[in-house]
Every structure is written in structure tokens, then in C-alpha cells.
Amino acid sequence: MKRNNFLPSFVKLSTLFVFFASSVVVCAIDNPQEATSVWSGVAEFWQEICGIVNTLGKGVLYSIGLFFLTILFAFPLGLIVAFARMSKNPIICNVTRVYISIMRGTPLMLQLLIVYFGPYYVFGMSLKNYPEFMAAVIAFVLNYSAYFAEIYRGGISSIPVGQYEAANVLGYSKNQTFFKIILPQVIKRILPPVTNEVITLVKDTSLAQVIAVVETFTIAKQLANAQASMLPLICAGVYYYIFNFIVAMAMERIEKKLNYYR
């Protein structure tokens, strides 16, 4: 079950190389006026890109922060939600079911707006001590936990009942059975769908612009408007692509690491 082999690795590596090499060239050219007229045009262009890349930098930090915080909280929370969803208690199970259904059934953009403006419009609370970034993290964690929960649930229910029985007979407690026997096998099985979800998350961070989080896309759009140019948007696209490229490579590496058993 290899999902990320869509490009041979030398193509991947050369793409990365070209991008980095060109940015090095960009930054090395610091005095375009003295270049020949042909080169000065090229140099100006590269300098423009260099400026955009620099300006986008701060936004990229926010995107990365949003990404990692979402992963950090949504992975464990998703597991808890999955347990609640599989609970034998009908109230817990159904409440969770409704939660997952809403999270998956409505746009993340809408959820962001509700999480950010909800406290003000519903409870009349002030937004002064409520940074947009925090609202974005909360909305993303709530949304992604629902998706991860369903992935976990699928993974957990795919483990044969014989594994539980063998552990039971050997005397493992319920916790030991889950964390030592079941979860490692679940992680291996859910890796491909989790990779999908994580890659989507990288791109979804751009939705945080609707509540004015200054992430990559927000800045790119502002620059594009100010300069009446598409270049900032393309630079943002390259940023997202590289980000996802690294994510995909990391996930592929984990998948390979877990290939020692079936």
C-alpha cells in the first residue's frame, strides 16, 4: 500500500534542488544595476521574487504553527473521539456521532467563522483577548479530530478479534492490550489515509485567512492586490507544494519503517 510513489525520487530531488538553487542565486545577486541590460531584467525579476519570499516568510511561520498545533492536539483528541464513537453508552456514542457528522458535513471555513465570532455574537464576549490564531487552532483541532476519529475507528475495527483474544488469554490488561498489541497495528494500517488527511491539512491552513490570521495565503493575496501581480500567489503555491513535499516524504519514510511486518 504505497501511496506516495507518484514520482520517482530523482525527479522529486531535482525539483527541490532547482528551487533551492534558484533562491540561492536570487539572494546572491545584490547589485543588479551593474549587470548588463539583459541580466538586469532577470535580476530584477529574481529580486522581486526574493522580496515576495521574504514577505511571505512570516505568514509561512503561522501556517507551519497552525499545522503542527493542529496535528499535536488532533491526533490524541481524535483517538478519544474514536473511543467515544465506539462507546457502548448510547448517549456518548450518539452525541459523538452528531459531532462528527457536523464537523464533516459543514465547510471548515464556516466553522472558523463560528469559532471566532461565536463567542461575541452568542455570548456577547469581547474578542480583545481572543487572538485569531487561537480561534483558528481551535477550529482546526475540532474539525480534524472528527476526521482522524473516523480513520482511527476504521483502523481499530479492522484488527481481527483474535488479537484481542490472544492478548486476553495471555493475561494482558485492557490497557496493555490496546497500547501494546492493537494500537501499533492500527497505526500501520491507517498511515495511508492519515497521510491524505495531513496533506489536506497543509492546504487547509490557507482557510485561516477568513478570520484574518496572517498566514501565507493571506499575505500572498495582499501582495497580489498591492502589486497587481500573480507572482505572490505563485510563490505561495510553491511554498505549499514544498511543505507538502516534505510531509509526503516524511510519511513515506514512516511507512517504510513499519514495513518490517505485515
Binding site: 481481527p160 483474535g162 488479537q163 483474544e165 490472544a166 492478548a167 486476553n168 488469554v169 495471555l170 493475561g171 494482558y172 490488561s173 496493555q176 501494546k180 498489541i181 501499533p184 497495528q185 500501520k188 518490517y260 511486518y261 505485515r262
Partner: protein
């Protein structure tokens, strides 16, 4: 004292009563084979004995320690979870589908429970595990993973895993049903050796000839009751009851 003593075991799944009052007593060193048609309740009996299913009525004791007692009206009352966990040291179970842990190597499959559950001495457990693997003819395979082994080899690992705590009784739930005839012989050879060493065993099986050969006692179950039991000569070669005769008429 009996190693295992089950009395008046009743078990229903919903409306269907699968076991209707079964008594089973296994003495030390005895090999008991349970035979019977599919759906007769023999697997359920084994699953109740190994605490994978909860019985509704009746009692059960290992080496005189009650796992399940009867109240005044005959309903089963289970010991506390802690006590049940301790009792699990008294038995091992070999599954039809092996149920090895795929993410653990062969040796880890065997040693993990005694080390993390029973907190036994690590070096001692490893030594014992290697001894068992040697006995199973898998000395060179300790660092393999289950998927790298044949079905017969996997089943032998799972027998070693079941033996690591020196259980008082070893249960087999159709141990060769998932294996081809050649691999079946591999596994039967091991069970035969265990029988020669006076290992107490309870075997649910469809291998009639094998059961006749290794067992001291044969129990024939049909529709949730023990129809006939006795020595292999009595039950397999000259059954007295008509239902047993019918069932065994198809014996190869």
C-alpha cells in the same frame, strides 16, 4: 485434585442455548479430546474454560481455585478480575488461526506476556523461550516475524507462547484446521511429543485418528450436551450410543 473442574455449565447466546449443562473434569497428565459436529458447542466449551466467554450457569475451578462459583439458584458468579488474571497463568490456549502478534518477532511473541504481565525474570524467560523454540524445531527462527513463517511454523510458535508460563493445562481449539495435510502433521507431531511428556491437554479437533491415538479420554458433544465419553477404544472404536455411531460413521 483435578486440574480443571467444570460443573453444570450452561451458556446461551440470546435465545439459543449452546451448552446445556456440561461437566468436564481433567486430571493431571491427562489428554482429553473433545469431538462433535460443527455447532455442537465444543468450541464454546473451550472458550468458557479459557474465560473468553462468560458462562451463565455452573462453576469452574483450576487446581481447586474457583474462577466461577454457583449461587443458590445455580447462576455463575465470577471471581474478581485480578483473581481471574492470576488464574490465566494456569492455562494456555492455541488458536485455530494462531493469532500471533504480527508486529512482534517470534521470540517477543513468546516472552512479552511473561515479562510485562507476570513480571517474571527477563533472562529466565528468554532462556525458557529459546528452550521451547528448540523443542518446536524453530531454534533459528527467533528473530523472524510471523509473516515470514509457514502456517505450521506459526502454529508451533503459538504453542511455545502458550507453554511459556508452564500452564497446568494446555487448550487447543482445532489447531490444525487452517493447515494443509503436510503442515498438519508438523503440528500433530509436536502435540504427540507433548502428550508423551505427560502435558495435560484439552484438544478440540476433527482429526479423529489423531484424537484416538493421543487421548486418554474422548468426549463427544452434540447439541450442547455430552452424549458419550470414555477411552478412545470405547468412544471412537465401539461407540454405544446411536448419535455417536452416526457421527463417527463418516470417519476416514
Amino acid at each position: 485434585m483435578a486440574v480443571l473442574d467444570i460443573k453444570n455449565l450452561h451458556k446461551s447466546f440470546g435465545e439459543i442455548e449452546v451448552l446445556k449443562g456440561v461437566d468436564l473434569s481433567v486430571a493431571k497428565g491427562e489428554v482429553v479430546s473433545i469431538i462433535g459436529p460443527s455447532g455442537s458447542g465444543k468450541s464454546t466449551l473451550l472458550r468458557c474454560a479459557t474465560l473468553l466467554e462468560r458462562m451463565d450457569k455452573g462453576s469452574m475451578a483450576y487446581l481447586g481455585d474457583y474462577a466461577v462459583q454457583e449461587d443458590a439458584s445455580g447462576n455463575s458468579i465470577y471471581a474478581s478480575n485480578d483473581e481471574l488474571r492470576k488464574l490465566k497463568r494456569h492455562f494456555g490456549l492455541v488458536f485455530q488461526n494462531f493469532n500471533l502478534f504480527p508486529h512482534y518477532s517470534v521470540i517477543k511473541n513468546i516472552v512479552d506476556a511473561p515479562i510485562t504481565v507476570q513480571h517474571r525474570n527477563k533472562a529466565e524467560v528468554y532462556e525458557k523461550a529459546r528452550e521451547l523454540l528448540d523443542k518446536m524445531g524453530l531454534k533459528e527462527r527467533e528473530n523472524y516475524y510471523p509473516h515470514q513463517l509457514s502456517g505450521g511454523q506459526q502454529q508451533r510458535v503459538s504453542i511455545a507462547r502458550a507453554l511459556i508460563n508452564d500452564p497446568a493445562v494446555l487448550f487447543f481449539d482445532e489447531p490444525t484446521s487452517a493447515l494443509d495435510p503436510e503442515l498438519t502433521q508438523e503440528v500433530l507431531k509436536i502435540i504427540r511429543e507433548l502428550a508423551d511428556q505427560k502435558t495435560t491437554m484439552v484438544i478440540v479437533t476433527h482429526e479423529m485418528n489423531f484424537a484416538a491415538e493421543v487421548s486418554n479420554k474422548i468426549v463427544f458433544i452434540d447439541q450442547g450436551v455430552i452424549v458419550e465419553q470414555g477411552t478412545p477404544e470405547e468412544v471412537i472404536y465401539s461407540p454405544k450410543i446411536k448419535r455417536t455411531q452416526e457421527f463417527l460413521a463418516h470417519r476416514k
